[in-house]
């Protein structure tokens, strides 16, 4: 029986990505494969890159580490970054806002409405 279906989804566009579901991979390194396309897109991005996590219910600390590495990568690229979070998801409201200090061009938007 295979119950280990992927429980997350990451959609990439040129101007941003949307993460939904649950991300609890074992190590920060395990996030690299799924975050590499985001990193590549950020390098190519000419405007503000948007990371939408409003539909991401859970992320473990390895994921926070991986996400913060994306912020550091944007800082290195001097790229404006916007993270969209949901007010109704406790860890987002609390933890993600702290990432602001990593990058002056980062805005964290915690919104009332959950992702549709």
């Amino acid at each position: 029986m295979n119950m280990e279906d992927a429980d997350h989804r990451i959609e990439n566009t040129a101007a941003g990505c949307t993460m939904t579901g649950v991300l609890r991979l074992a190590t920060p390194g395990a996030y690299e494969r799924i975050f590499n396309p985001i990193h590549d897109a950020m390098i190519a991005c000419k405007t503000t890159y948007v990371v939408d996590i409003r539909g991401l219910n859970f992320m473990n600390s390895s994921g926070i580490t991986a996400l913060s590495r994306l912020v550091l990568a944007a800082r290195k690229l001097d790229l404006p970054l916007r993270i969209l979070g949901a007010e109704s998801i406790a860890w987002q409201r609390k933890t993600i806002t702290s990432l602001r200090r990593l990058h002056t061009l980062l805005t964290v938007d915690i919104q009332d409405t959950p992702a549709s």
């Binding site: 280990e4 279906d5 992927a6 991979l25 074992a26 390194g29 395990a30 690299e32 494969r33």
Partner: protein, 215 residues
């Protein structure tokens, strides 16, 4: 004197016993995790083999070896193609005898550390190349693939008299960095059982037992 009993893991419990020894040792030694479907060699997550050999002393599991019976590692990650296999068969005039769609791969051989250095590894390795393990009740033997460092090929295959035909150099993946090196790269190789494996190994019966010398 202790005796190690070797059997094919058929029941659920034996499969789990074998998996857990492999997981325990791979995690401890290489930080590798396993999964049945979320597999990623770049981040240290390996696929579980589908079939296992289990070595026990009494009720304790001391050795295990896996067998990929579908989606072999060499084909999935090593860029080995059916054409590569066909070419090797053609060079031996064995196209009719084998089916390139039927491949297996011997993998993840582990010996519990307190049983190291007692000849258990090579004995288990040879049993893993027996018809009793790799044929799994089929009529035709499968083609056996193997992905390993060159030092392993020398210490195991060559030392056992098993010919392993180089197919391709295995790409560099981070998951292997703790055992691969520039001097000791990894290859994908092919073993054609009826011509490459000495009959004494190919016909080795299972289950079997090995008596260990007291240290």
């Amino acid at each position: 004197m202790k005796s190690v009993e070797l059997r094919v893991a058929v029941r659920n419990g034996d499969v789990m016993r074998a998996q857990y020894l492999i997981v325990d040792m791979y995690h401890q030694n290489y930080g590798i995790l396993f999964s049945n479907d979320i597999v990623d060699l770049n981040s240290g997550i390996e696929p579980y083999p589908q079939s296992y050999l289990l070595g026990t002393v009494g009720s304790e599991v001391v050795a295990a070896c896996g067998l990929y019976t579908r989606d072999t590692y060499c084909e999935r990650y090593g860029e080995v193609t059916k054409d590569d296999l066909q070419q090797q068969l053609a060079s031996e005039g064995l196209e009719a005898r084998y089916d390139v769609r039927r491949t297996v791969e011997v993998t993840k051989l582990v010996i519990r550390s307190d049983y190291n250095g007692r000849g258990l590894g090579r004995w288990l390795f040879q049993a893993a190349h027996s018809a009793a393990f790799v044929m799994r009740g089929d009529e035709k033997p499968p083609l056996i693939l193997c992905c390993a460092t060159r030092s392993i090929f020398a210490a195991m295959h060559e030392a056992s008299g098993i010919r392993a035909r180089p197919l391709r150099k295995f790409p560099d993946y981070p998951v292997h960095e703790r055992y691969r090196s520039a001097d000791n790269p990894m290859d994908s190789r092919l073993i054609i059982p009826t011509v490459d494996i000495p009959p004494a190994i190919w016909n080795k019966p299972l289950p079997c037992a090995l008596t260990l010398e007291e240290r």
